[in-house]
């Protein structure tokens, strides 16, 4: 199935580029290892042949897409990525008129680390087969349930494909595998405030203030960030715990109504700070907060279209 | 019970008579209940004075048969407090007069035996005569 989708993406990207519909097509290309993919912008039909689609296409493409906001761009979107697009449309950071959106069915992406953990040796192939994946490692091929290998953000994926696409590929995917997305958040919330504070302090003590979490975030779009403007502040330079803590706290607040839970921040964090917990927390607040605050995560696409046009 | 109010405007004869006798315009009543609330004999009345006025206004039958007319002693508390300045005791008095005249059971003075006239207190005669006038 994956290969079929991959074919379709290449075909469509190539055609769109050739016909002049778009200037650039954003997708994935193969990364340094088999289990890594990287965002990739194809500018010619020939380059479109380098596009890939496989079970480890987890990263959010929208951050890359935003770099081409001024151009007519096509993009292959998972439902979760499409939610990010909707948010950016709401916030006027993308122009729907300049986008060609291709919806791609997704039954949850696989976590490369988990694959490595279950594999017997160096992974040489990774093939989807219905609800299972075939992992080739060493001389043998291991059949493993896909649900057990999913990225944290995909477990119990809440993202229904928005009514936004210009076209969709493949068939509607099976219902996302069940799973409690919020178990870790709830566990943390069950602690006493002091214990939570200690938890975060311990993690933030590793933070080097490299700002990768912010740089990668597709929804951090401010031209000048109110939080990094003070990079030269002596307290920041000294990485005073209070300043680091304040930075993360404010970053969370600024994302409160925007974060679509792609977990890119955690993925790129060199110190493995569990930033995805914050993403889940924001998601949970929106879910539970509907009665308190009007905090519908994403507007209806028709609204978006109305605002943009 | 449904009270029917006809379109021909013929009703209200009793109301007009009471208004003529008492000199009070009953449509002026606010129906506020001050008269009833202040009345020292309200508990003894089978219908409260403000309701009695409303019955008159809407031609509710049976007004003249009410005990309340006879319970009123004319103490004037209600008249003093009525925001509309209606003299409710005069309304009561008018109703009593109408009731008496309608009943027609007065004793003609001429027919009273002379012996009885000797025994009767003069005030009784005055009262009796008064029933036939006014």
């Amino acid at each position: 199935m994956a290969s079929l989708i991959e074919q379709q993406i290449r075909t469509r990207a190539s055609a769109l580029l050739a016909e002049g519909w778009i200037d650039v097509f954003v997708g994935y290309r193969q990364g340094a290892t088999l289990l890594r993919v990287a965002p990739f912008a194809a500018r010619t039909p020939a380059e479109a042949d380098r596009l890939v689609w496989n079970p480890v296409c987890g990263p959010n493409l929208v951050g890359t897409l935003r770099k081409y906001a001024g151009q007519r761009a096509g993009v292959a979107l998972k439902a979760c990525d499409a939610c990010t697009v909707v948010e950016l449309l709401r916030l006027h950071q993308l122009d729907r008129e300049r986008l060609y959106l291709i919806g791609v069915p997704c039954q949850g992406m696989v976590d490369p680390d988990r694959v490595v953990a279950v594999a017997a040796g160096r992974v040489t192939s990774l093939v989807e087969d219905g609800a299972e994946v075939l992992i080739g490692a060493g001389n043998e091929t291991l059949r493993h349930p896909r649900a057990a290998l999913l990225l944290a953000k995909c477990a119990g994926c809440p993202a229904a494909p928005p009514d936004l696409y210009d076209e969709t590929l493949g068939e509607a995917p099976p219902a996302p595998p069940a799973g409690d997305r919020f178990a870790a958040v709830r566990a943390l919330e069950a602690l006493a405030p002091a214990e939570r504070l200690a938890f975060w302090r311990q993690h933030f003590s590793r933070c080097t203030l490299c700002y990768a979490c912010q740089t990668v975030c597709p929804l951090c779009f401010c031209k000048e960030c109110a939080l990094t403007l003070e990079r030269d502040d002596p307290r920041r330079l000294a990485r005073e715990p209070a300043s680091v803590f304040a930075y993360h706290l404010m970053r969370a607040f600024h994302l409160a109504e925007r974060c679509t839970g792609c977990d890119e921040c955690e993925r790129v964090c060199p110190e493995d700070i569990p930033l995805s917990l914050i993403c889940r927390k924001l998601e949970l607040d929106r879910l539970e907060g509907t009665s308190r605050v009007a905090a519908l995560p994403f507007p209806a696409p028709s609204e978006v279209a109305g605002e943009v046009s | 019970m449904t009270i029917a109010i006809g379109a021909n405007g013929q009703s209200g004869a009793l109301l007009r008579r009471v208004e003529a006798l008492s000199g009070q315009r009953l449509a002026q009543c606010y129906q506020c209940g001050t008269c009833a609330a202040g009345c020292p004999f309200a508990e003894a009345m089978d219908v409260l004075p403000d309701r009695l006025i409303r019955h008159l206004l809407f031609d509710v039958p049976g007004v003249l048969e009410r005990e309340a007319l006879w319970v009123c002693v004319g103490c004037d508390l209600c008249a003093q407090r009525c925001p509309r300045g209606l003299d409710v005791p005069r309304v009561m008095e008018a109703l009593r007069l109408i009731a008496l005249r309608t009943r027609g059971d007065q004793l003609p003075v001429a027919q009273i035996p002379a012996a009885a006239l000797e025994d009767l207190p003069p005030i009784a005669l005055v009262a009796s005569l008064r029933r036939q006038t006014g």
């Binding site: 031209k223 960030c225 | 029917a4 021909n8 315009r25 001050t34 009833a36 409260l48």
Partner: protein, 1056 residues
Amino acid sequence: MERHAYDVLVIGAGISGLHAALDLADQGFKVLVVERQASIGGTMVKLDKTFPTNDCAICIAAPKMVELARHPNITLLTSARVERVSGSAGAFEVLIWRQATYVDPEKCTGCGDCAQACPVEVDDVFNGRLSRRKAIYLQFPQAVPAIYTIDYSRCVGCGACDRACAAGAIAFLRRSQPVSVTVSSIVVATGFETLEPTGLRKEYGYGRYPNVVTAIQYERLLSASGPTGGTVARPSDGRHPERVAWIQCVGSRSVQGGYPYCSKICCMYATKEALITLEHAPGTEATIFYMDLRAYGKDFQQFYRRAAGHGVRYVRGRPAAVEEDRDRSLVVTYEDTLSGRVRRERFDLLVLSTAIVPAPENQRLARVLGIAVDSYGFFVSRDPLLDPLRSTRDGIFLAGGAQGPNDISDCVAQASGAAGLAAVGPLARMGVGGLRQAQPAVAPSSATVRPAETGSHPALNGSGPPVGANVTPRAQAGESGVQDARPAADAETARVGVVVCGCGKNISGFVDVPAITAAARDLPGVAFVDACTFACSEDVQRRIRAAIAGHGLNRLVVAACSPITHGPVFQQTCAEAGLNPGLFEMANIRNQCSWVHSTDPASATAKAVDLVRMAVARAGQSQELPLRTIEVTRRCLVIGGGVAGMTAAITLADLGIDTLLVEREATLGGKLNTLATLAPGDVPASAVRDHLVREVQRRSQIRLFLGAEVREVSGHIGDFRVTLDEGPGGMLNEVQVGAIIVATGFQEADLRGRFGYGADPRVITQLELERRLREGTLGAPRSVVMINCAGSMDAENPACCRIGCGISVKNARMLHRLAPEARIVMLYQDMRVYGKGQEEAFTDMLDTVAPQRVRYTPDRPPRVIARSQQVVVLVHDVLLNEELAIEADLVVLTAALRGDADTLRLKQALKVTTDDRGFYREAHAKIRPLDFNTDGIYLCGADHYPRSVPDTIAQAAGAASRAAIPLLRGQVSVEPIVAEVAAEACAGCGLCVPHCPYGALHLDGERKVAWVEEVQCKGCGTCVAACPSGALQQRGFTDAQVLAMIGAAWEEPAYE
């Protein structure tokens, strides 16, 4: 004796006088305000909250009071009364007697040391005699001017206050003085009083039983600044009452033992008081005894339903007597008229909603002014229908409670109306050009109260003048145009001057002033430090000016009292020394340190040092605030040619303002073309129409656009561009105007399918009845049933239409005249005849027409059954508790009312809001009833809410007065503390846009940046906090300024 000249004299500075004076002063006239009391504010400031929004009364009144006191075009004389008036309109000569208060207003700082020292305690009249005050006193904490007054009749002359007063403000030898002035016109706004029910209605026990209080006393019991600090307590024992009852109409609606008129506001304030009582103590039982619950105004009925829903018990019945029990609780005897039972019920506290009565002063003032009062003592207007605001003498105008009971919003509308009319006189004398020149010239007068004692605009450091007001600091007066913001912090090093005030002993008695000055000297950027006894005194102002010049200071910090009250004094001083107001800071070490931590001097001093450090840090980040004005096109557009629109246009034209009057129909008149007669006076509507049209036509300043509709509107106050479409075959006009008045009227709700309407020609609405009466096509009905509240006051439409009862009363009279033998039956829920003369007209009608009145409730509404002979109306009368079947040959529906059909379209074009019934939403229900939230657009007439013709005329004149403020001035000031966008940093996400309540923020879709329409921005900064990047900042309240204060709030933590 010196004689000063003013344009207008306003007598009385309650909420009406206050608004009349502010309108006139904002228009550029010189106004003299004379107030009998020691403080302005009138009755409103005694109230806890205001219905139906439950706004805090003092919170909305205090800024207006402060604005009046510091307005450069207003001279305020308190404790003064008008003694003699001679001359005539255009040139009145007025003699005013100014009562000595024995305190020098130039020296009093309002600190209160004197009152503490005073040994004499007397009943506090302001608090309804429920508490005590001293013989030297401030009427209430927010009093304006905030100057103490000696109650000479109570003073024992011991001199304790004199010894206590460090400022030396006590002046026993002061004498009362006459002040002689000339004015062109006079506005009488002397307000009202409430009945003390000791003589009248004494059966309720007021004055004999301590737990019987008046509603105004109860307001004080509810008020947070009242005698009990906002907890409701019984006067007899301070116990919290569990059962509280209100008796309505105490002295009102009483031809004997009181006054025949309706006091208009009591039903709503009792409802409000009951509701607040429940909020204070949820378990309390609140009961209101009433006859007709008159919830007639906009949102009043909903408010009443809300109260009932919260458990306020409404009992229809007028209690006859009150007795006191041994525990001082009260036993009330009443008939519940809906059940027909007499009951005796016990309450812990009884509140009497006493009649609104004329001020006793009115009779004297009427003689002095040579104007008429009615038999009660309210001032009467020349023509109660067409000229409700003009007194019986030329040049003298009436507003508010002086002419009868009125709620606050009606008072404000009338005040603006009276101002609009009063402005004509002085304007005629000097012309518009003259007015412009006269603006900055505020004649210094010995009587002028300095802002120092009177408080100021709470915005101080940031905010300057309200839009349209001529309150530019004196040093800059006359300047206009743009003055660029100069980022002083970048251009030069901060040189901060710090002045620490001891406020006599108020600060220095509890806080170590030398320690503060010493600490201030070490702060970064501080170039000068001084300490003084009274920073607000004139000699210290001189010292400050000298220091700014001598030490080259470019920032000033004054550590003293509140910037709300004293900020402008120092800003003025700074301005005189060439320092922009944005570069001034205050540290409030009196209200926040010495007064509230007087038992802990060490901590108070430490805190004061911190506050000074914070202010200095903020000053380091401060920038000049640009003071900008924009030019105004001196032309007004009035939309709608009915009573309201025509009156507004006439008033504007009389003020010399070119006016474009747009009417959708081919002829002027609006509803006047349909109605038969108008109350009061049963004047033919056609006569009123002809009169108004004639008045419009003979004014050359009015240009008519008939058969034309407003299409597109763009721009802002001072510069609106409007497209007027004259329809097919007509022109498409592009006009440019500086202000817009909306007066588009109302319509009857569509009742087809209800009450037999639409199916049977014998069922008509009041408007149709009027038309038939007017055309003489009604015939002679023998039996008429009027159904009030048809389509109103039910689940679907909870609103009361406000004017239906009055119209039904008037039309019953007309029908009776037409067919004297006809039976007339009026179906109603509550008889809401609340306005001036309406109750009298109602009872008069009861006498002459003697209709049968049937009270029904919305859960059992009347049903109309059409038969061939008659229509039968079936209804349940709740007073008889019987079903009635009434035969009629005519049924008249008093239909629910709603905004005009065009409202929706106009609302979009004007970008204003409406409620769910299509009535426009005003900026503030109480104090801005004629304004929209958008500057430069005003409203009047029934498109705001249905109202009587006199009310509409008053309101229309008021809307004209509001519009005249920018139009007469020819310019508007831009709020100095507006939000501004750093375009290069803005990502154009638009998160800020929906946060602006004024529609001042826009997103430029092309450039992907937000931008601020500065004229519309009011400087709240809400959008700024919504901006994630910091690209949006508020001038005077930048992130940098606030963060600098936070960063300086404490010395380095001692715990490190």
